[in-house]
């Protein structure tokens, strides 16, 4: 069973539908017991970091995420879930979970692209990923594959070793993060067509061991 953590931020139906489509049993749940007994955990999130942290603390699910990490369960952070795993977020200078050293950083403004000129923030739409190191969840992802992004902040780990892919949008920012049994993606794999489904399938069969 795969638990999709429901801490009252956003609509989790699309994550569940995508995982079920791939043939893996999946449950959207806010119950700590169910999360801790799940084989693997998806940690999604949309919206503001402050609100998300508040909901996590209120529901006590911050501890469920921490405990899942400690137990070695494969964990997939998605979007805001890939930001609040850090020590803090520049979004209203929010104190976050501190599972990985680093922060969620805001795109600088004004933001310029070499070819595009002035860029809009949030970064909305399809963009590619540039692999920096191997990771099992990237198995079979092709150079031309793109993923669907919607965000104004991006993950910025302190340790370069945690950067699995980078993406270009005015700045070159980390878009897939890996640390032990935790992997986190800034984009929405559940909304990224066949490439996103492939990444989700890889996660659903990953044993949680970090790449070299």
């Amino acid at each position: 069973m795969i638990a999709v953590i429901d801490y009252r931020v956003g609509n989790l139906g699309s994550v569940r539908r995508a995982v079920e489509r791939l043939g893996f049993p999946c449950k959207v749940t806010g119950e700590t017991d169910e999360i801790l007994s799940a084989e693997r955990v998806i940690f999604p999130g949309v919206g503001a970091a402050g609100k998300a942290m508040e909901c996590l603390r209120e529901t006590g699910l911050d501890e469920a995420v921490r405990e899942s990490l400690r137990l070695g369960k494969p964990i997939l952070g998605i979007c805001l879930g890939a930001q609040v795993i850090f020590e803090r977020s520049e979004e209203n200078d929010t104190l976050c979970l501190g599972l990985i050293k680093g922060k969620a950083a805001r795109f600088p403004e004004p933001l310029y692209g070499a070819a595009e000129g002035l860029l809009k923030v949030p970064h909305i739409g399809w963009n590619g990923v540039i692999p920096q190191r191997q990771h099992p969840v990237l198995e079979g992802i092709r150079a031309a594959d793109e993923f669907y992004f919607v965000h104004s902040y991006y993950p910025l780990p302190e340790d370069e070793e945690n950067v699995i892919t980078l993406t270009d949008y005015g700045v070159r920012f980390p878009s897939v993060i890996g640390c032990r049994n935790l992997v986190a993606v800034q984009f929405h794999p559940e909304k990224s067509g066949t490439a996103g489904l492939k990444l989700l399938r890889n996660f659903c069969t990953w044993d949680g061991r970090h790449a070299e």
Binding site: E116, K120, G125, A144, T194, A195, G196
Partner: protein
Amino acid sequence: MLSKRIIPCLDVREGKTTKGIKFEENIDIGDPVEMARFYYEEGADEVAFYDITASSDRRDIMIDVVSRVAREIYIPFCVGGGIRTLEDMRAVLLAGAEKVSVNSAAVLNPRIIAEGAEVFGSQCIVLGMDVKKVAPSGRIPSGYEVVIDGGRTRMGRDALEWAKEAESLGAGEICLNSIDADGTQEGYEMTLTPLISENVGIPVIASGGAGNIDHIYDVLTRGKADAALVASVVHYGTHSIRQIKEELNRRGVKVRMAW
């Protein structure tokens, strides 16, 4: 580098896709779920549905369409048409849409944008605006007026001012539909589109008038649109989404080429 998006738009009436010219003479052209799946497999970056079902008590038909689409396609899709309240928004988002677009209701009650953004997040809220070219005046300095009811009711609001206001209220994207160009297949509106795109910080989706690839190329380059809505040009098989993207790619427009 971010890709420009190609978004097929399906007008849906009582569960069937239809297509009209300048919001009139609608004819049924297929099943929206099958069409969405077809476009998804052809490389569409997103799909837009516009519910033109006349009577509000038949809205559950659209909700059923949305939930079936959500099981077939794994890219974002947006649902608009008849969205008036937070409950309308909630219903389509829970059924599986990524975004909702508000149009007339937002012009009549702009607070719906702020409320929707507050509850569901700005990324969910697309402001759809229908505009008509008019003589520039003190009240309408851009020369484009916001209209509703498919162009039948003029709102006395300047299109550029409204776009800026919607952004400040929390709209995540703007879908700009030219009533003059809609269904003509003679090209997108090329004056207001870049004007709005350069004056707001959120993506602008151009809508209305695509008849060939040149039109799409123009609006994504000179027109400064972040995405192009396409309807007749793909529904009637003039071009496939794949052909459009291959040609745009050949001409140097960054589009997603792997799917």
